[in-house]
């Protein structure tokens, strides 16, 4: 898949932002900052509000609905924002901007900031699998070999069996990871059920092979495991709070 025309550079105001659509119908927010152009998802990850209608000062993008904010250089959430913006790589040529097809591994929050070399090594491990609506990705007791990255769709998690089963949150953002016990010691089996609530595409990364990559780049491994720890805490709540 080659790059796709998005807009002319002069269509995006200087230190301003504007949404454009590729021929295939992909909507992208273009933000200019000095001599650079950045491409992001056009809708706010919070509540599907058009980011184009928000505020932008050349450095920080703010959604006007609930004031979620992001750093224009990276799409990193700031302040109250709970999710990053999905970034699209833009290529500038002859006064026009083109979208370069994105690599889902690079879109994964867990892997943000790793070196190109390590990202490429992780990319080589990835196997893509599509799950139809209602199908089960894994069940409790299944071997926990793979770390899963949601590429598209929506995945729900359930704890417990049969009539004792209760929902335990879900994943719906492209680039979110689940099945993290593939990266934990002494956790050879799945402890929850993951099922596709709609047709979903998932990248599978073998945990042991991933550790192989991290052994060659321990800095990357440290960063990923640190993020994993905060990810897990986000899902822990005192039982009394339920």
């Amino acid at each position: 898949m080659g790059k796709k025309f998005l807009c002319r550079t002069d269509e995006c105001p200087r230190n301003g932002m504007k949404a454009f659509e590729t021929e295939g119908g992909l909507k992208i927010l273009v933000a200019n900052s000095g001599d650079r152009y950045y491409g992001y998802q056009a809708m706010c990850p919070h509540m599907d509000v058009a980011l184009e209608e928000g505020f932008y000062d050349g450095a920080v993008i703010t959604c006007h609905q609930h004031l979620w904010q992001w750093d224009v250089r990276s799409g990193t959430p700031m302040g109250q924002a709970e999710a990053p913006l999905q970034q699209y790589e833009l290529h500038e040529e002859g006064g026009a901007l083109y979208v370069v097809p994105s690599d889902p591994v690079r879109q994964t929050e867990l892997f943000a900031g790793l070196t190109d070399e390590t990202l490429a090594a992780i990319g080589r491990l990835a196997r893509r699998e599509t799950f139809e609506e209602g199908s089960v990705i894994y069940r409790p007791g299944d071997p926990a070999d793979d770390l899963c990255v949601l590429e598209s769709g929506r995945v729900q998690f359930t704890i417990g069996h049969d009539e004792h089963a209760s929902p335990a949150g879900f994943s719906l953002r492209s680039g979110e990871v689940f099945g993290w016990n593939a990266l934990l010691e002494d956790q050879p089996h799945r402890i929850a059920t993951a099922a596709a609530l709609e047709r979903s595409s998932v990248l599978l990364l073998d945990g042991r092979e991933l550790f192989g990559v991290f052994e060659k780049d321990p800095k990357a491994g440290y960063l990923v495991m640190r993020r994993l720890a905060s990810l897990i805490t986000q899902h822990l709540t005192p039982m009394g709070a339920r």
Partner: protein, 347 residues
């Protein structure tokens, strides 16, 4: 009815009474469900029904505009459960802070209604049980014989209030406000659900206050100013109050604002802006402690505050276009970070 709610980060279960809005049931159980207006206009309390049956009490609610109804999306503030239900909320949902006030349904009786201008009245109610709330919060008010509720901010501030005071603006076609304006309502029972809202002030934030209100949006600001004055906040920090109305016949609370100014003459400044006419010499003569300007309140505040946005916590309240313009000014001209901007968009 049992509601099983699967949020982005974890699951919750709570009971929902027959006829009770799912949003209210979750909130009174101490679950921090997403909401903003509570009255069907903003669309923030979006949920997705995966199992069970619900009744939508206001299918025409404007907040439903962006919903994917074929995917089972609905507004929790407008729907009641007919059976046990399972639903999903795409947000991270946390339990409410244990030291906060958990909203509840409260019975109340109207004590007094007084006209403040040609289309604004103050309304005092007695509540059956003392209500704890934070300065700047609001309640949903429902009146006899009218479906739906309206959000009104308390103008007073007390730790455990037995009386609540509101500002009611007459909205043509607004059934709740028309009922409240029809006269002879003293002694009538009204339903309240609250407290709600995040545009709150806590003494001890260590920042100067910038309060920008349009019309009846001054209600919650009065509560914040009362709380701040009581906590002697203005002994150490500044307070900048901007109150915008259309014309000289739309002003109210000027005596109260002048009295506050008199208590803290050096720390507090109050500017009243008239958007539809020039400066009124009569008002200037009558209220020497207040400053009067002509123009839209966000622009007046932006010009006056230039160079004074350091260490400021801003509160904005009023009609949505006014709040939007104010947010833009605070972010782009004031360069405030979003955690220092508090507002509720429910007007």
């Amino acid at each position: 009815m049992k509601i099983l709610l699967s949020a982005k980060n974890q699951a919750y279960s709570f009971d929902c009474d027959p006829g009770e809005k799912i949003l209210h049931a979750g909130l009174r159980s101490g679950i921090g469900l997403p909401y903003e207006c509570g009255t069907g206009t903003c669309g923030t309390c979006r949920g997705r029904l995966t199992q069970g049956e619900i009744d939508n009490e206001w299918p025409e609610a404007p907040g439903q505009a962006g919903l994917r109804r074929d995917a089972g999306e609905f507004l929790m503030c407008q729907c009641v459960a007919r059976t046990d239900c399972s639903l999903q909320v795409a947000n991270v949902v946390k339990p409410m802070a244990p030291d906060g006030f958990v909203p509840a349904t409260v019975g109340s009786v109207i004590r007094r209604s007084t006209m403040l201008t040609h289309d604004v009245a103050s309304l005092d109610v007695n509540v059956a049980e003392p209500l704890g709330f934070e300065a700047g919060q609001f309640v949903l008010m429902s009146v006899p014989g009218v479906v739906g509720a309206r959000a009104y901010s308390m103008t007073n501030f007390e730790r455990k209030a037995k009386q609540l005071a509101f500002v009611i603006k007459k909205k043509p076609g607004g059934h709740v406000s028309e009922w409240l304006f029809r006269g002879g309502i003293e002694g009538a029972r009204v339903g309240l659900f609250g407290p709600l809202g995040v545009a709150t002030f806590h003494p001890g934030i260590g920042k100067s206050l910038l309060c920008i209100a349009g019309g009846s949006g001054i209600a919650g600001i009065m509560s914040i100013l009362t709380c701040a004055a009581e906590a002697r906040h203005f002994d150490r920090y500044r307070g900048h109050v901007f109150f915008g109305v259309r014309t000289a016949r739309d002003v109210f609370f000027l005596d109260e604002l002048a009295a506050l100014r008199a208590r803290f003459p050096d720390a507090l400044d109050v500017t009243v802006a008239l958007s539809d006419e020039g400066i009124n010499a009569g008002l200037e003569a009558r209220y020497p402690r207040l400053r009067f300007e002509a123009g839209l309140i966000h622009a007046v505040a932006g010009a006056r505050m230039k160079g004074r946005f350091d260490n400021v916590r801003a509160y904005a309240a009023g009609p949505p276009p006014m709040v939007d313009a104010t947010l833009r000014m605070l972010l782009l001209e004031g360069r405030l970070t979003s955690d220092n901007i508090r507002y509720d968009k429910f007007s």
